[in-house]
């Protein structure tokens, strides 16, 4: 009996000392420091390195910005969904420092303090679209880009009011349906289309980082 009790205690102690550090770190970050974006930052750093690797591979022209899409500016990659507005390229999880100044003053700005987490989610509303961000340390990264009218299009050409058949012709059938939205996934981000009957009613680029 003594051996059994001792074994249980030792197992408990061992488990405590050897439990998965990585997952535990995630919770420590999210719950304790209320900075649950630390691991996201690592992911993003990885994505960034990968992106820079891709850029390197694209060669000198790409580095000089001579090439056209799908070569990306900033830290977007060919594997990202990209929204382009007046030559400014924006993707989910991009640091707002890279494009905010170029976009000019938003019509509206709104800060949303989470129920519990430190930092602010921010919403920048422009005439034709809305950019939402989430905090990541000292930076703000894009959580979503939401279209507000039909004067802007996705990089592939979708716009609000477009016929459903045309959207599907552009993007194909490799989508999943979630909460009434057609969801296309690429590079750790999603492009959501919502249809009102046969017409495109909503377009939104969304990060998947916050789902993790």
């Amino acid at each position: 009996m003594k051996k059994v009790i001792l074994t249980v205690c030792l197992v408990l102690a061992m488990a405590t000392l050897t439990a998965c550090a990585e997952t535990s770190q995630e919770v420590a970050d999210t719950v304790v420091d209320m900075n649950d974006k630390v691991s996201d930052a690592e992911t993003l750093l990885g994505d960034y390195k990968e992106t820079m690797g891709n850029v390197d591979l694209m060669g000198e022209n790409a580095m000089e910005g001579n090439a056209t899409a799908p070569v990306q500016t900033n830290n977007t990659s060919v594997d990202d969904f990209v929204f382009e507005y007046k030559g400014i390229r924006i993707s989910p999880d991009m640091n707002t420092n890279e494009f905010l100044a170029d976009l000019g003053e938003p019509l509206h700005y709104y800060e949303v303090k989470s129920c519990a987490f430190e930092g602010m989610d921010k919403i920048y509303t422009y005439t034709s679209f809305e950019i939402s961000t989430y905090p990541n340390g000292a930076n703000d990264l894009v959580s979503s880009i939401y279209f507000k009218d039909d004067t802007v299009t996705t990089e592939e050409g979708a716009y609000l009011g477009m016929a459903k058949a045309d959207v599907l012709a552009l993007y194909g059938s490799n989508y999943t349906e979630s909460a009434g939205a057609y969801v296309y996934s690429k590079g750790g981000m999603e492009l959501h289309f919502i249809f009102d009957g046969e017409t495109l009613a909503s377009i939104e680029y969304v990060t998947t980082v916050l789902d993790e």
Binding site: I5, S24, V27, V31, V32, D33, M34, K113, A116
Partner: protein, 351 residues
């Protein structure tokens, strides 16, 4: 007694003492590395505070931040003699509300349970960090076990709720002074579950709600509301549904219509306070501390006063201010309440 028996007995005692020491050290370590919620994020400490109460409440509020930031039990007592408590927590999901309700009913039978319906929008678990802020503070019971099972994400393990040390052990490198300061006990955060805020950030813009592909609440969410209704009926408790007057996030008309229909079908009272902001006297240029997400103390007092009158009349709650023992308890609570109000206002002045 033979020499062998004496040796065996000594060994047994040594083993038992050794085991007790190991368990005590592990328990202490667990307590040390677990979050105390005494820093900037205090909301995680609210749930556990209920257990220290006398549990003789007329009204229990259950729900997310829209209850613990918008309703003030002190006002219900001062103005209407209603003894109330808020069992609220950050992003409390509806199944967590149900299990908190179930647990609460093991302790007491209030006249009314008030549930804020915003969480109907979530049909599945969201974030472990939020789960922890609700569940870690619950005492062990079948309700807690079932709450964990209903709340866990795929990445979570039940054993880590049983032994939080397994989850938090590598906070070793990040321990802060508060972890040692509150090792043996935390400071009280709530006032009967109300989390006081006195800042003022006026509303000058609210983002429009995004178009949704499906405005229907999920089956899982509905099923827990059904269970709440059944549980309240079994316990002869009146369930009142509310939507707090928070301007953001969007409370869609389609959502409101579903709740109204459900309430009518189940003979429940439902108040969407967003429709009564003028009657309540809310001024979103002065009564919110975060631009419309939650009310500050001044707005919350207005809302609570309005709701108190409604509760007294519609639910026929008695004024208990003439109960000497209860009045004495509230005298102490009100002193704490106004002391913190003064302290927070003084801090605000300094800023």
């Amino acid at each position: 007694m033979s020499e062998t028996k004496k040796v065996r007995r000594k060994r047994a005692v040594a083993v038992i003492i050794g085991l007790l020491v190991i368990l005590a050290v592990l328990a202490l370590l667990q307590r040390l590395v677990m979050p105390k919620y005494m820093g900037e994020v205090k909301e995680g400490a609210l749930i556990s505070e209920y257990y220290d109460e006398d549990k003789d409440f007329d009204v229990i509020f259950i729900g997310d931040c829209e209850v613990y930031e918008n309703f003030v039990p002190a006002t219900l007592w001062e103005n209407y003699g209603i003894n109330s408590y808020i069992r609220g927590s950050a992003q409390q999901l509806i199944w967590q509300s149900y299990y908190l309700m179930e647990e609460t009913l093991q302790y007491e039978k209030p006249d009314v349970i008030v549930f804020n319906v915003l969480s109907l929008q979530y049909n599945e678990p969201q974030k472990e960090a939020y789960n922890r802020m609700t569940i870690d503070g619950m005492r062990w019971s079948t309700s807690k076990v079932e709450c964990i099972q209903a709340s866990m994400l795929e990445s979570e393990n039940f054993i880590e709720y049983v032994f939080p040390l397994l989850r938090y052990h590598d906070r070793w490198s990040e321990l802060e002074p508060e972890d040692f300061q509150y090792l043996l006990g935390a400071e009280k955060v709530g006032h009967n579950g109300y989390y006081m805020q006195v800042g003022v950030v006026p509303v000058d813009y609210i983002p429009e709600g995004k178009i949704l592909g499906d405005y229907s609440f999920g089956e899982n969410a509905w099923s827990y509301l059904d269970k709440m209704v059944a549980l309240c009926e079994e316990n002869d408790v009146e369930l009142v549904l509310i939507k707090a007057p928070s301007l953001y996030p969007e409370w869609y008309e389609e959502w409101d219509a579903q709740v109204e229909e459900y309430a009518a079908e189940h003979n429940l009272k439902y108040i969407n306070f967003l429709e009564y902001t003028e009657e309540i006297g809310l001024d979103y240029s002065t009564d919110t501390y975060d631009a419309g997400l939650h009310l500050n103390l001044y707005g919350a007092v207005k809302l609570t006063d309005y709701f108190g009158a409604w509760l007294a009349e519609e639910c026929e709650l008695q004024d208990r201010r003439d109960e000497e023992a209860l009045a004495e308890v509230w005298e102490v609570k009100l002193e704490d309440f106004y002391t913190q109000k003064e302290e927070l206002e003084a801090l605000k002045e300094e800023e």
